[in-house]
């Protein structure tokens, strides 16, 4: 019981993250990189989630810490201010196709892309899709119930709320995509007219 208590107090003050990473690793990493435009060394300092998810796959995972982290991610999700989840699916298609944004050679004034096609199949007409993530073709068949809207929005905002240590970026939580872009991607996935939901010819 004592250790669980210790872990709970530790996690309540989530700021004090378990130092999963050895000091000299952080030092070596800092010494091996240099600021380049918008990509500064600050980006190499890990938050608790990144630290927790940096273990090589086979290392045992402490369930309590994992549960707490997941809950903390879920609680931090910010839903659309006006309660409207769906934007314009054509703009969403552009966000899904663009891999630009936040690289040191990218222009910070230009909107970031979501690069969804890098890892997912979406519109059946697009042959250049990745397979790191599951196919999302015909995602619209899932319908637009409130639960489905909230689930999909959370997956985009911070997928770790459901799938801790997933490889998918936290598009909302890490401010990669803004609220309107997220709404447009939601439409790209859920709008029946979207190319994602057209039959494969």
């Amino acid at each position: 019981m004592k250790t669980t208590l210790w872990k709970m107090t530790l996690l309540l003050g989530i700021g004090i993250a378990p130092t999963a990473v050895s000091e000299d690793l952080a030092a070596v990493i800092q010494a091996s990189f240099s600021d380049r435009g918008q990509a500064t060394l600050l980006r190499l300092e890990q938050d608790p989630l990144q630290q927790h998810c940096s273990q090589p796959r086979d290392q045992p995972v402490d369930d309590e810490i994992a549960m707490a982290l997941r809950q903390q991610r879920l609680d931090a999700v910010v839903f659309p201010a006006d309660g409207d989840f769906l934007g314009d699916w054509q703009r969403g298609a552009t966000v899904a196709a663009s891999g630009r944004g936040l690289q040191f050679n990218d222009d910070p004034s230009i909107a970031n892309g979501g690069n969804c096609y890098a890892c997912h199949q979406l519109a059946p007409s697009e042959v250049a899709y990745g397979t790191l993530g599951p196919s999302l073709t015909q995602y619209g068949l899932r319908g637009q119930s409130d639960a489905m809207l909230r689930y999909t929005w959370t997956k985009l905002w911070d997928t770790h709320a459901f799938n801790l240590c997933s490889h998918m970026p936290r598009f909302g939580a890490q401010k990669i995509l803004d609220e309107q872009q997220l709404k447009d991607v939601m439409a790209f996935l859920l709008d029946p007219n979207s190319s994602v939901n057209q039959p494969t010819e």
Binding site: V21, V28, A31, A39, R43, L102, G130, L132
Partner: protein, 260 residues
């Protein structure tokens, strides 16, 4: 001067053409412009340069002064004269400094071609030295304590997630038979994929018309991971090359490869 005239047969690693580009690769055939870069690298090796006017023929790449056949396949490795584990790129810069008297801040300032360049001295030297290991078994030295420590550091970095997208190398390179868009991704934790991938660098990149080295490959990967700039010849670069080379050990060097 031995003019390298024998054609290099390119073994296309299985993961490089998972069907969708077979037709493209068949039509391409085996004519790889890296052949020119091999010759240019050989010429730089025998060219006297720097204040001392020496060539690189006395450079010790781990198998004795001037021995190039099979040297690349045993990198990264520990060198007593520098008391450091070095990759082939930092070792070449070391030889330019110690043998030719050339200033390291100049030789290491621009190791890789920028857009509009048509190949650098370092890229050519590394390409020739890789060709000198073509067909040789990948066998990075792991006998020294520092070499083993470099592998452990490489593994830790491989899984280190950071930056706005929480990307680590493992994000893309720890699963088999996956791809980003149509670009196959080798699972670098798997011996077969690691051997195919590691053994095929340096490689001629069609999209740029240049042969690119593994050092450049890591720099450009980190750019796309949204990390800051990886410093040339840094611990992280050498550690990751060590991690890949050890995972690839036993495989065969096929470089220079032919890639997108």
């Amino acid at each position: 001067m031995i003019t390298r005239w024998c054609l290099l047969w390119l073994a296309f690693p299985a993961w490089a053409d998972e069907g969708v580009f077979d037709q493209y690769r068949d039509l391409m055939g085996d004519d790889n412009p890296a052949i020119f870069v091999i010759d240019e690298g050989e010429e730089f090796w025998y060219q006297s340069q720097g204040p001392s006017g020496a060539t690189l023929e006395a450079c010790d790449l781990g198998l004795g002064a001037g021995v190039t056949r099979g040297a690349y396949a045993q990198f990264p490795r520990y060198f007593a004269d520098t008391d450091r584990v070095m990759d082939i790129e930092t070792r070449l810069i070391h030889c330019m400094e110690t043998l030719q008297g050339r200033d390291r801040t100049v030789t290491a300032a621009k190791p890789y071609s920028l857009r509009g360049d048509f190949g650098t001295e370092l890229e050519a030297l590394v390409t020739w030295l890789a060709a000198e290991s073509e067909g040789v078994v990948i066998a990075p030295e792991q006998g020294h304590l520092k070499e083993r420590a470099m592998y452990a550091l490489g593994e830790e970095i491989f899984f280190y997630r950071a930056g706005p997208h929480d990307f680590s190398c493992a994000t893309c390179h720890e699963q088999s038979d996956k791809r980003i868009r149509l670009q196959q991704l080798p699972n670098l934790t798997d011996h077969h994929d690691a051997a195919d991938a590691y053994g095929s660098w340096p490689a001629y990149r069609m999209s740029q018309g240049l042969v690119r080295t593994m050092g450049w490959r890591l720099q450009d990967c980190f750019r796309q991971q949204r990390w800051p700039g990886l410093t040339f010849g840094s611990e992280v670069s050498i550690a990751l090359q060590t991690y890949m080379a050890v995972n690839a050990a036993g495989g065969i060097m096929t470089a220079p490869g032919l890639k997108r």
